[in-house]
Amino acid sequence: MSGVRAWAAGRPAAARLGLALIALLCLYAFVGPHLSPHSPTDIDYTALSAGPGARHWFGTNRIGQDVFAQTARGLQKSLLISVSVSAATTALAALVGTCAGYFGGWTDHALTFLVDLLLVVPGFLVLVVVASRLRNAGWPAYAAAIAALGWMVTARAVRAMARSLRERPYVRAARHMGVRPLRIVRGHLLPHLAPFLITHATIAAAAAVVAEAGLSFVGFGVQPPDVSLGTLMADSAEVALTYPWMFFFPTGMLLCFVLAVNLVGEALRTRLDPVAAWAAVRR
């Protein structure tokens, strides 16, 4: 990761701000619930729709549940989904992309068709359909579904890059020297793909959180009494102007997280040429 360190030294402001924000959000999501006396499901009948105050730091919702605790619970879920989806999609995209790109032939034809097929129907629609089966399965199932539908564009880019790397003179030279294919993939291809993959891991991290929140927002995500940032937003969207705190805190957390991850990602991305990366997506 010396590359990441070098980059962080190069553009400190944006990247550090992003990393600091992510750290704060993690702190809130995982340590916050232990600081607050309320649990997300507790109902405080003495404080219905109460504004932020000493007792309920972020206020309460219309049935008297603590917004601080609920938001922390929702954020927790978002962060877990974000990390697992990001790791899974990046690994899957790297695997499929390098296999299709480096080995070519039938492997390539089959994998490319699969990728194209999954890209024909917008992933979110499929997610909505699948989600109605996952209602009681908990966040790992959602993460798996989101990951399964979120790797294709990256895989296509990786494939295109692997194809061009395959014809680089130093890879050809290695083949002529008798270096075995897997060793070439590990020694010559993956190190060159790494910056691109890291960048895409950040994009996937943000996209996963947004997908989960969107899913919950339209009613296909987690079911009550469990909460997610999306359900919290959906419940309070209609009264956002009357009881702003109910809407503001979950939305703010979501935006903060996406913004922070994007700050890190953008700093990474500027080290790649975006046009070249996107042009590479086309075969």
Partner: protein
């Protein structure tokens, strides 16, 4: 034509182009510290109607100077100083007025025509646009296109109508350059700036392009600023020469004088490092490399590399000044008499050098100034009867084209490399050299014919045997910058072929410093990355990697084509030394450059159109070739000697409708064929020629054992009166 441009007073006396104190800063607007002054005070005068050659190695600032002549800069660069075109100051002129001069009074032929033409417009329209921009009343689109066709045909482009309707990517490099020239002369400018007009072209195509440029100049009477790294091209064309180094002009003189009596040590080194096609000779090696833009310190930029530099040289940056008569040095009466005569004629004022001690090393002669590599020595012949390292017979190969068709890249190749011998495979792009090399290193059964590597028929190898054989055959690919993985340290790069052969780790660790020493690099190089090395050093590393497993057969693809002349000499020396060692590997060198081949090869095999057409010992083949193609090839190489200027042979335009699937593959372009009586012609048309004569020329009517030039259109006749 064009015309109508108001210019300031003194127009008639003003030189075509007068550049004073030109400075170009690149990287402006980027972070501080990335800005660099790439051109550091250039003074240059181009007189009306003359040809001025601007010579230098890559990174010297030639292209920036050429662009500045039009008041142009690449994005992010800033221009200072003065550029006067026919007396009009261009620096600071408003964009509209600049635009009115550009393309009309001064035009440019760009270096890389694949990037210089807009990819989405037709060639004819792009040329026509030059007319439509300047001419008033504005010609119609149709009229402009018709004129473009005339211009193309004047530039010697075959089928100009077709070319005018083509998009840039549909044309060959040579055609694009000629189209570029046609566009430049469209408005009959007073000044043409040509930036590397022939770089990366084949020699025969280069001869054609030079012919086009010469014609263009003759018809327009324009002055020409010819920027080139190729001393041969400059010697062939220029009246005067300016040498550029690290952003400055370091020497300028009439061409003949500069080549005969260089006074600045850099010029001397450059000249004696350039290989020649007419003789294998010791090449001088200029140590070190040119400082990167912005990295030149105080004092003379060349001082760190200069063998005769003195302490003052590192402090004072010398200005360009007239060279005085040499007072020292052993008498060379004839030369000095000539010098005196020239001085009397006012010629010596023309010879300027930026050197505190011009001609300091004169006594030893240009070549003696720098360390000289070993003269090419005769190598021990391979003992008769020993198995050749490589034997290829009747090889044919096809490529799959993008449209799904098949292209016959190699039709019939025969060649043999004896153990310990160095053989050069020579030909122009598209001749099938690289494909041949590719099929050899594949170590699989060829589509047709037979390949024997170190006595093993590649068609009969098992997978495991092929893998073992890879430990005995190594290849060095063309561009060293791209053949080394930028993310690997040199140590890991050198270990790779050894690891592939499962050599123990300890042995690899011991071998690395050995290898580095063998290619004249320090052991500390192992811990560094490829980008920390210069092009020449990178090629040494690539060579070391290939030598790691002590191969018996070494394949080299264009080993020095990506290198500058002064660096190239060192690598050629190294190659000579490695291949002539008693236990050195047999070598097959693929090259398009006859001057390089001359320096390193024992034997030469010539390829044309997928066939080997002639082969023989280097000396014989490169002085008295028998095959018409070899002869054209040889005569189209310009010599770096303006005194011995001779017309270049530009190959003939191919006969249209000539079906080369039967008979001789070269006859469409063969000058000899066109002069044959018709019954002999029939032989060429119907029967493929077999090896004939002592060099095995595949020709029915090979040339006799002499050195007459081939028939053909002479390119760039030169102006004998200019000297």
């Amino acid at each position: 034509m064009g015309g109508g441009t108001e210019v300031s007073d003194g127009t008639d006396q003003a030189p075509a182009l007068d550049i004073r104190g030109l400075r170009v800063v690149v990287g402006a607007g980027r972070a501080e510290g990335e800005e660099a002054e790439a051109v550091r005070g250039v003074d240059l005068t181009l007189r009306r109607g003359e040809v001025l050659g601007l010579v230098g190695e890559s990174g010297a600032g030639k292209t920036l100077t050429a662009l500045a002549a039009l008041g142009l800069t690449p994005p992010g660069a800033r221009l200072r100083g003065s550029v006067r075109l026919l007396g009009t100051e261009l620096v600071g002129l408003p964009a509209r007025e600049l635009a009115r001069l550009r393309g009309d009074r001064i035009a440019m032929v760009f270096q890389d025509p694949s990037a210089a033409f807009t990819p989405v417009h037709r060639i004819g329209d792009q040329i026509g646009e030059a007319l439509r921009v300047h001419e008033r009343p504005r010609p119609s689109r149709r009229a402009a296109r018709a004129r473009a066709i005339t211009l193309l045909s004047d530039t010697g482009v075959p089928e100009p109508e077709r070319v005018a309707l083509s998009f840039p990517h549909q044309l060959s490099g040579g055609l694009r350059r000629r189209a570029m020239i046609a566009m430049a002369v469209a408005n009959r400018p007073d000044v043409i700036v040509a930036d590397e007009p022939t770089s990366s072209l084949d020699v025969t195509v280069q001869a054609r392009v030079l012919a086009a440029l010469g014609d263009a100049r003759e018809t327009t009477g324009a002055a020409l600023l010819l920027v080139s790294h190729d001393l041969g091209v400059v010697a062939q064309t220029a009246d005067r020469v300016a040498v550029m180094y690290a952003g400055r002009i370091v020497e300028t003189a009439p061409a003949r004088e500069l080549f005969a009596r260089p006074r600045m040590p850099y010029t001397a080194g450059l000249l004696s490092a350039a290989p020649r096609v007419d003789a294998a000779h010791a090449l001088s090696r200029v140590p070190g490399t040119q400082p990167a833009p912005g990295k030149a310190g105080t004092g003379c930029a060349f001082a760190p590399r200069c063998p005769v530099s003195r302490p003052e040289c590192r402090v004072t940056d010398p200005a360009l000044a007239a060279v005085t008569q040499p007072e020292r040095g052993p008498g060379r009466p004839a030369a000095r008499a000539a010098e005196r005569a020239r001085a009397a004629a006012g010629a010596s004022a023309e010879h300027l050098a930026a050197c505190l001690y011009p001609g300091a090393g004169e006594g030893a002669g240009g070549g003696g100034l720098f360390p000289v590599g070993p003269p090419p020595a005769a190598r021990p012949r391979a003992t008769a009867g020993a198995a050749p390292a490589l034997r290829v017979t009747g090889l044919a190969a096809t490529h799959r084209t993008r449209r799904g068709g098949r292209l016959r890249a190699v039709r019939h190749v025969d060649l043999t490399v004896a153990a310990g011998e160095t053989v050069a495979l020579v030909g122009e792009s598209g001749a099938g050299k690289s494909t041949t090399l590719d099929r050899i290193i594949a170590l699989t059964a060829p589509e047709a014919g037979r390949i024997e590597v170190l006595g093993r028929d590649t068609a009969k190898l098992t997978r495991a045997e092929a893998h073992r054989l890879r430990g005995r055959v190594q290849i060095v690919l063309q561009d060293p910058a791209t053949t080394l993985d930028p993310r690997m340290k040199i140590g890991a790069i050198l270990a790779e072929p050894l690891q592939a052969q499962r050599v123990p780790r300890a042995e690899i660790a011991a071998r690395t410093p050995e290898l580095l020493a063998e290619v004249e690099l320090g052991g500390e190089a192992a811990d560094r990355y490829p980008h920390e090395f210069s092009g020449g050093q990178q090629q040494r590393i690539a060579l070391a990697r290939a030598l790691a497993v002590r191969p018996e057969l070494l394949l080299l693809d264009e080993p020095v084509s990506a290198l500058d002349v002064s660096v190239q000499a060192g690598v050629l020396d190294l190659l000579r030394r490695l291949t002539s060692a008693p236990d050195g590997p047999a070598c097959l060198v693929v090259s398009h450059d006859l001057t390089v081949v001359r320096q390193i090869a024992d034997r030469v095999v010539v390829m044309h159109g997928g066939r080997t057409v002639e082969s023989g010992p280097t000396d014989t083949l490169l002085t008295r070739p028998r095959h018409p193609y070899t002869r054209t090839l040889l005569w189209s190489v310009p010599r770096p000697d303006p005194g011995a200027r001779r017309p270049l042979a530009a190959p003939l335009a191919p006969l249209s409708g000539c079906d080369t699937t039967t008979g001789c593959g070269f006859r469409a372009q063969c000058g000899a064929y066109r002069e044959l009586p018709s019954e002999q012609k029939r032989l060429c048309e119907h029967e493929a020629p077999g090896p004939n004569g002592p060099t095995g020329a595949s020709c029915h009517f090979p040339y006799p054992d002499d050195a007459t030039p081939p028939p053909g259109r002479p390119a760039w006749r030169g102006r004998p009166g200019a000297h």
